[in-house]
């Protein structure tokens, strides 16, 4: 079920009413309702893959109980590895089987050995990368004794399958989300209203910004061979805002819906395109994934504590694995490596934590220095997105070589340019709203809160109208494919 579908618009109020009016006095029933609603939500896409979620839930729940009983170190390790192998085994099969097979065949062919092996037509279960990492966080935290294992399988199933964030995150840490299922939830008016506001803004980002940008980004990337360098730059910029609007929009909707049910999810995006350096960008982009890799991969590898060689190795590992998490394609690996290259100079010169605050806090405009840093960081990010969006490494290279040709200095031109200019205006307005609200959790978090209700409602109605009026053609959420 998509958040921006009529089905979901019917599903959400039904679950909300049942949750707060029918089963509100019984915590177990509330959790059970969340589990059932989450399974319906997921089965709407493909019921067959529910079995994977159920299996992961049972394995990790059992491993958790096993870890609770076991004091023997090596046996605890075996249990941990069982969970890791099952979870990553599913992920590896569904997401990476064909990638490894194709590369294996290519490598053997390179040395003159022909291998006949058939790739499988594997469907990638939606959200597998997200809930796999979420359940892994539980097992690892229990193994490290940071978290008490749960004996409540319904609460655990609700934690694994929680529908607002099941298919595209934020990837919650068990230490944050699981305890929320143990406590009685009380309806909080302010939280619910804030949730609705965040949902509205998420829908705007997805339907108005991302879907409009997607149309032109797809068009330009799909016919990149026939277009000028300047048009390709425009295409990459469209993709830059498409992916931000799409993914951060989804996260906003997920967080907002969770608030309606009395849950607090972690923040996933914090105005990343206003970052002054790449380290800041990675503290603001897909925060739940970056911190997951930091906590469960980077720090166990030694983090930045070792010598220079170790720091370089660990940085490359974390960024390349992060790239590979996004998809089984060399383009994602290069995207990750490129970000590692951007990040390393900051780490090695110990400047990776120099921009921890909000840019130009309390001011209308950034200083010239801040602006130049933002523009530079943004340009690096945009360049890396070329690899992320391209179909293959060859495709990305051909786009870059065209961008670096003299056609960069011509006026962008492609079929639909006039309509694209309107989208450029929409994106321009969107950037201004985001800049204005950058000190909040999301751009319109504080908008009009002190205004008269009439004016505040007028703003919300305008956003709803804009969603219907300017909404682009329906596009699948990008992160569903990861």
């Amino acid at each position: 079920m998509l958040f921006n579908s009529i089905d979901f618009a019917i599903f959400l109020p039904i679950v909300f009413i049942l949750y707060w009016f029918v089963v509100n006095r019984n915590l177990k029933l509330q959790n059970l309702l969340i589990v059932l609603a989450s399974y319906v939500f997921y089965a709407w896409w493909d019921w067959r893959f529910l079995s994977l979620i159920l299996f992961s839930t049972i394995v990790d729940y059992s491993v958790g109980l096993g870890l609770a009983k076991e004091d023997n170190k090596s046996k605890r390790k075996i249990l941990l590895w069982l969970s890791i192998l099952v979870n990553l085994g599913f992920l590896g099969f569904f997401k990476y089987y064909n990638f490894f097979l194709d590369n294996f065949i290519s490598a053997f062919s390179f040395f003159g050995n022909e291998i006949n092996a058939n790739s499988l037509n594997v469907i990638l279960p939606v959200g597998i990368s997200f809930y796999t990492f979420q359940t892994l966080s539980y097992t690892i935290d229990v193994y490290k004794r940071k978290l008490e294992p749960t004996r409540d399988i319904i609460a655990f199933a609700a934690f694994v399958g929680f529908f607002p964030q099941l298919v595209a995150g934020p990837i919650e840490r068990a230490t944050n989300l699981l305890p929320q299922f143990y406590k009685k939830r009380l309806f909080d008016y302010t939280k619910a209203v804030d949730g609705l506001r965040q949902i509205l803004w998420g829908l705007f980002k997805k339907i108005v910004i991302a879907d409009n940008c997607a149309e032109f980004a797809n068009q330009i990337f799909n016919s990149s061979a026939d277009l000028s360098g300047s048009t390709l730059v425009l295409g990459v910029l469209f993709f830059t805002f498409q992916i931000y609007g799409d993914f951060s929009g989804y996260s906003d909707i997920a967080i907002g819906i969770s608030r309606l049910f009395g849950f607090d999810l972690m923040r996933n995006f914090a105005f990343p395109y206003f970052s002054r350096d790449i380290a800041e960008f990675w503290r603001r982009w897909h925060i739940s994934l970056s911190t997951w890799f930091r906590d469960y991969l980077y720090i166990p590898l030694g983090g930045s504590r070792g010598g220079t060689g170790m720091k370089i190795r660990n940085t490359f590992i974390i960024f390349i694995v992060s790239g590979f998490w996004h998809g089984a394609n060399w383009t994602f690996i290069i995207w990750g490596a490129l970000n590692a290259i951007y990040f390393l100079p900051l780490l090695l010169t110990k400047n990776n934590r120099s921009n921890l605050d909000v840019v130009a806090a309390g001011k209308y405009l950034p200083s010239i220095k801040e602006l130049s840093h933002i523009v530079f960081t943004f340009s690096l990010t945009v360049f890396a997105w070329i690899f992320f969006r391209a179909d293959s490494v060859g495709h990305a290279i051909s786009i870059i070589s065209k961008i670096l040709s003299s056609s960069l200095f011509t006026f962008p031109n492609f079929e639909g340019m006039a309509r694209a200019m309107f989208t450029v205006l929409l994106v321009g307005g969107f950037i201004l709203v985001e800049w204005n609200g950058r000190e909040g959790e999301y751009a319109i978090a504080h908008w009009g809160l002190k205004w008269k209700r009439m004016y505040r409602y007028a703003i919300y109605y305008s956003i709803i109208l804009a969603i219907f009026w300017f909404g682009g053609k329906d596009q699948q959420f990008i992160y569903f494919q990861f």
Partner: protein, 332 residues
């Protein structure tokens, strides 16, 4: 919770009332589909020729140019699936119907759906697409039928047209390029002169044809559409009505970008039907008589072109009675 629900209801009152008003307005709106259909029923005893097809025929065949009483029942994007069901729903009410012109364009044999236009046929002519149930579309045309975006743009158009032309202009939605002070005659209304934008630009042809080609290459419906057409022709013959297949003219430069293998496949399929039923096919696609001035854009005739084309269709009716059943080329 009470406060939340109270304020939520306050907030939702305006949108709910707006949606209800829009639903009422949309239900009472005329569309070219409904007006044409009602026009056909009003003239049911006179109609001898029925013109079917998509926008090429809607704006390209002028029934006034025919000696017999012709009526244009083509609609934008109308596929053979809808042509057939529209005719079937009327055929018993048309006692004097002699000929039905069925338009076969480059893409006609590859899709049965008209995309977002399916709903227009449902609201205008009550024709359902396959087994689709239209329960939600009946409940709210705004939310589930036309979609909020299309509904709002219809409202915007209507308001702007009213302000610009007053009550006298057409009360239903037509394509840009149609004179809104014009009147619908025998189901026909035309494009004025020529499109101002760069529709005669080769890049535009390519990308327009690309859209068709992508859909055609991925289509799995050809067999089904052909079977439906075959059944349609068979039914017409059984009702003593002569089906005539035809292809509307499209601009020569545009035609050079069409995929010849698709055209040849179309002609083979058409030839199969001609041989099976001994019916006629009139192919005007590359006809040299049509010049740039006859077109509104690369694949639509304007008023002048429509008149020219319709006169030719009228002339060929008498010729195909006695001579060759095929007019124009069958191979690219």
């Amino acid at each position: 919770m009470k406060l939340f629900l109270k304020k939520l209801i306050y907030f939702l009152v305006f949108p709910i009332v707006f949606v209800l008003v829009m639903d009422i307005w949309l239900r009472n709106q005329e569309s070219l589909y409904s007006v044409k259909y009602e026009g056909a029923l009003l003239n049911k005893d006179s109609i001898e020729i029925l013109i079917l097809g998509n926008s090429h025929a809607t704006y390209g065949v002028d029934p006034d140019a025919f000696e017999m009483y012709a009526y244009n029942l083509a609609n934008v994007s109308q596929s053979i699936y809808f042509d057939k069901r529209l005719t079937t729903s009327l055929i018993d009410s048309l006692p004097n119907l002699k000929y039905v012109f069925i338009s076969i364009d480059y893409h006609s044999l590859y899709f049965s759906s008209q995309g977002i236009r399916d709903i227009w046929s449902y609201y205008g002519n009550k024709i359902k697409y396959k087994n689709k149930n239209y329960v939600l579309e009946d409940i709210s045309p705004f939310c589930y039928g036309y979609s909020p975006k299309v509904s709002l743009s219809l409202l915007k158009k209507r308001v702007l047209n009213f302000l610009k032309y007053g009550k006298e202009c057409l009360s239903y939605n037509v394509e840009v390029g149609v004179n809104l002070n014009d009147t619908l005659k025998k189901g026909f209304i035309s494009f004025e002169e020529q499109c101002n934008s760069d529709f005669f630009n080769e890049e535009i042809y390519k990308s327009r044809i690309d859209v068709f080609n992508k859909k055609i290459y991925s289509s799995t419906e050809r067999g089904e559409v052909l079977k439906d057409l075959d059944h349609f022709i068979d039914n017409l013959i059984k009702n003593n009505v002569e089906p005539i297949l035809y292809t509307t003219p499209t601009f020569t430069n545009y035609n050079t970008y069409l995929d010849s293998s698709i055209l040849n496949q179309n002609y083979k399929d058409i030839l199969g039907l001609l041989n099976k039923y001994n019916i006629s096919y009139l192919n005007f696609m590359d006809h040299p008589i049509f010049e740039k001035d006859d077109y509104y854009n690369a694949d639509h005739l304007n008023k002048k072109g429509a008149l020219k084309f319709s006169k030719m269709l009228n002339d060929t009716i008498s010729k195909i009675q006695t001579n060759d059943k095929v007019y124009g080329n069958l191979m690219k």
